[in-house]
Amino acid sequence: MAGESAVTTRSKVEQSLGRRRRKESIFRILGIASTLVGVLFLLVFFWTLIGQGASAFMQTFIEIEVEFSEDILAPSGELDLAYADFDAIARNALRKKFPDVSSRSERRELNQLISVGAGYQIKDAIAGDPDLLGTTLLMQVPAAANVDMVIKENIDRNLGEDRRPVSDSQMGWIDALIADGSLVSKFNVALFTNGDSREPELAGIRGALMGSFYMLLITIALAFPIGAAAAIYLEEFAPKNRWSDLIEVNINNLAAVPSIVFGLLGLAVFINWMSIPRSAPLVGGLVLSLLTLPVIIIAARAAIKAVPPSIREAALGLGASKMQVVFHHVMPLAMPGMLTGTIIGMSRALGESAPLLMIGMVAFIVDVPAGFSDPATALPVQIYLWADSPERAFAERTSAAIIVLLGFLLAMNLAAVIIRKKVERKW
């Protein structure tokens, strides 16, 4: 009886073995597949991002012979920078390359090949060196965004004329310019030195970068000391009572509150109640410090907790006061951990955009902000603004701005990892 049942159990197990092994391998494959989802997404993401954005770091320039004509620049005999028609100089220079273009509409189409930035460049040249008046100079002026897009093959030449933004005759001129070597591709300096612009070829991220910089400055100046102080209090001094529990629950919850709610807080408290100017990095910095505070507090508490109690006891035993123990012994040992936490909090603040939309940092701002109360925008918000622009050239620049943003985030996280590795202590 007993032997028989043992055999049946055994055979049952053996019968089921194949099925169980199959299940096991399916489960394993599912696991591998899931892990690959994340990795593959990242690959596709970076592939498309770099594919779209890398070309934005180069910009097409047209080489033209600029004649600083006295008729236009100094009609009254005096050099007149305020009212002179610099665009006309650029237009004339381009027209010299195509002498047979005569009709009005054709000339207008031809003029569309150079950027409005050409006029500014000519103005700067003559302002820097008034002796240029009356002479001719070979200059490389930015080409219009559409020319740039044709060169980078972002506009499909094979589409019908009515389906692309560049007309057939413009395409012909571009080919002619390519043939005589007047189209040159150079590093896109404007992307890093200019503020925002409606013209893609002139738009840059300098203003957004400076806005982000000022905001992060405020954020780090507020969030690090406050976060460190709060962590010290909660870890070292707080009595175990209702109040400490309340603070604890609050911090954990604030870390998970949607960032847009912090934007509402900033709008209602800082702008409407304290009447700090809208769009200023000051408000953005305040909101971002509140946003990163929980992150920093949680990281700093972990760092303080990691300092072994024996250090505290030794210092207390030698007669140090509680405050001296904390500030002379615990703090220096916990500092690397606090700093890594702060850097990670800062990188979160740098990538944050939703609360900034609430406090008016989405305006179109051309000037590079020069202080904490100038209207400004931030790098992620600039990405949001450009992503909304319909021009093909802005899509390319958005990708480039994203690459720059990710570069900064990568650098910050690397710094955090290096600090952690360098100063990490095993007790």
Binding site: R20, R21, K23, E24, R28, L30, S34, T35, G38, V39, F41, L42, F45, T48, L49, I226, A229, A230, Y233, L234, A238, V249, N250, I251, N252, L254, A256, V257, P258, S259, I260, V261, L264, L265, L267, A268, M274, S275, L290, L293, P294, I297, S321, M323, S347, G351, E352, S353, A354, L357, M358, V362, I383, Y384, A387, T398, I402, L405, L406, L409
Partner: protein, 462 residues
């Protein structure tokens, strides 16, 4: 005098106070063993004087900057002729803005009359007088307090205890900021939301099926009242959250299981940082990717299969949001799985169960509360996520469960209602705060529950 200069001056005065306080302690200490007759180290006497130079003056500076604009406006209004004083608050506000703009040399709307000129001149005068008064007061206060503190220094004076008491109250103040922030959030959304519910009944907001917040300018135009039924927003949010979670939960959970149970250490050390990169990408970047890369692909695939896909479909936004949440789910599940005692796992394996059976029949049931808590936190994250939906989901409030149609979410509506210039007391603007209140309450509930479950569960096996 600029605020920054004033701050620098006060900081310099504090440094000076430190020096004088320290010197004084050394000079009052007498006798053969000078240092031992002092209660505290000389530095503490320095800190004591410096604190008294710094804190009251900085407090005054802060309070002054909060109050000054109001006082000046009040004075200006009092000085205006009676006709202007009896204007409605809105008009008065406009007038004051104009006065301020004129004084600052900005563009003024409307023509500049003598009243405006006078007021602007007085505005400048008050502002200048205020700045000088502030400078004199703060510097005077710093000097007075520091010298009083300096005079109190005697060898018996317990400077260290004083300094430590101040520092400890600063520490308490710093940790209370978390509570102040929460109170600030609740206050700022609650007050505006209450004003909103005075205009639009709560029942209409919670159960109304029609959302079109555009209010006409004149009362006799079509749609003059706007309608504020938020149900389409809630369903839209749920739809996108649902799509995101149906990606993030299985993928994140299986990733955590694979990395905890199956993978070699080498694969783990490579894969974990990669997933962390996924968590570190800013949401605006995900939004860009969703709108420009994923949405067209979803549309093409859908249309090739014969479906009609909106260009801003819920599916594209949900898919990308799901990917974004994978690392959150996988790291919280990883924590939960790893905190199941090893003995349970080894016991199951020793009884002959396969690794997948150990996982599904022993470890997962044991880790379930922790995983559920993690999922709650992930849901809260998905509901509050803004940039992806702003960029990739639509604006039209459709009441639908079809993932191929465009829907809108609570966060999208908050952004669209509040971005750009608008009057601050229209129902349209206030509606954003009512939505913000709902968002805060729902995520608060999910967070508190999630944190509680995770925490409670973690303790169980410790």
């Amino acid at each position: 005098m600029q605020i920054t200069t004033l701050t620098l001056i006060i900081a310099a005065m504090a440094a000076g106070a430190f020096y004088f306080g320290r010197e004084r302690s050394l000079s009052v200490a007498s006798g053969p063993s000078r240092m031992q007759s002092l209660h505290s180290l000389p530095g503490y006497y320095g800190y004591y004087t410096a604190i008294w130079a710094l804190l009251p003056a900085m407090g005054l500076l802060l309070a002054w900057n909060l109050i000054e604009p109001r006082v000046i406006v009040g004075l200006i209004v009092q000085g205006l002729p009676d006709a202007e004083q009896s204007m409605s608050p809105g008009e008065l506000n406009l007038l004051i803005n104009n006065i301020r703009n004129l004084a600052n040399g900005d563009v003024v709307s409307g023509e500049v009359g003598t009243v405006l000129q006078d007021a602007a001149a007085r505005y400048l005068e008050y502002a200048r007088a205020g700045r000088w008064m502030l400078a004199v007061l703060t510097i005077g206060l710093a000097t007075l307090c520091a010298s009083l503190a300096w005079r109190r220094i005697t060898p018996k004076f317990r400077a260290r205890n004083h300094v430590e008491r101040v520092i400890s109250s600063l520490l308490i103040a710093a940790s209370s900021i978390a509570i102040l922030t929460t109170i600030g959030i609740v206050m700022s959304v609650l007050f505006e939301a209450i004003r909103f519910f005075r205009e639009v009944p709560l029942s209409e907001f919670l159960f109304g099926l029609n959302w079109s917040p555009q209010t006409a300018i004149r009362a006799d135009q079509v749609g003059s009242s706007g309608s504020f039924g938020a149900v389409p927003l809630f369903t839209g949010t749920l739809l996108i959250t649902g799509i995101a979670m149906s990606i993030a939960v299985p993928v994140g959970l299986m990733t955590a299981i694979y990395l905890a149970e199956y993978s070699s250490t080498r694969i783990r050390t490579i894969t974990k940082p990669i997933l962390e990169i996924l968590a570190g990408i800013p949401t605006v970047v995900y939004g860009f990717f969703a709108a420009l890369t994923v949405a067209p692909v979803v549309r093409r695939v859908g249309e090739s299969m014969g479906f009609e896909v909106a260009s801003e479909s819920a599916l594209a936004a949900g898919l990308v949001m799901g990917i974004m949440i994978i690392p959150l789910v996988s790291s919280l599940s990883d924590d939960a799985i790893n905190s199941v005692p090893r003995a349970m796992r080894d016991g199951a394996l020793a009884l002959g169960s396969t690794r997948s059976e150990t996982m599904t029949k022993v470890i997962l049931p044991a880790a379930l509360p922790g995983i559920v808590g993690g999922i709650l936190l992930a849901v809260s994250r998905a509901i509050g996520e803004t940039m992806i939906v702003v960029m990739a989901a639509g604006l039209s409030a459709n009441l639908t469960a079809n993932p191929l149609e465009a829907v809108t979410t609570v966060t999208v509506q908050i952004v669209t209602l509040l971005v750009g210039d608008q009057e601050f007391d229209s129902a349209k603007t206030l509606a954003a705060f009512a939505l913000g209140l709902m968002l805060f309450l729902i995520t608060l509930g999910l967070n508190v529950l999630g944190i509680y479950v995770v925490r409670k569960y973690r303790e169980e096996y410790e």
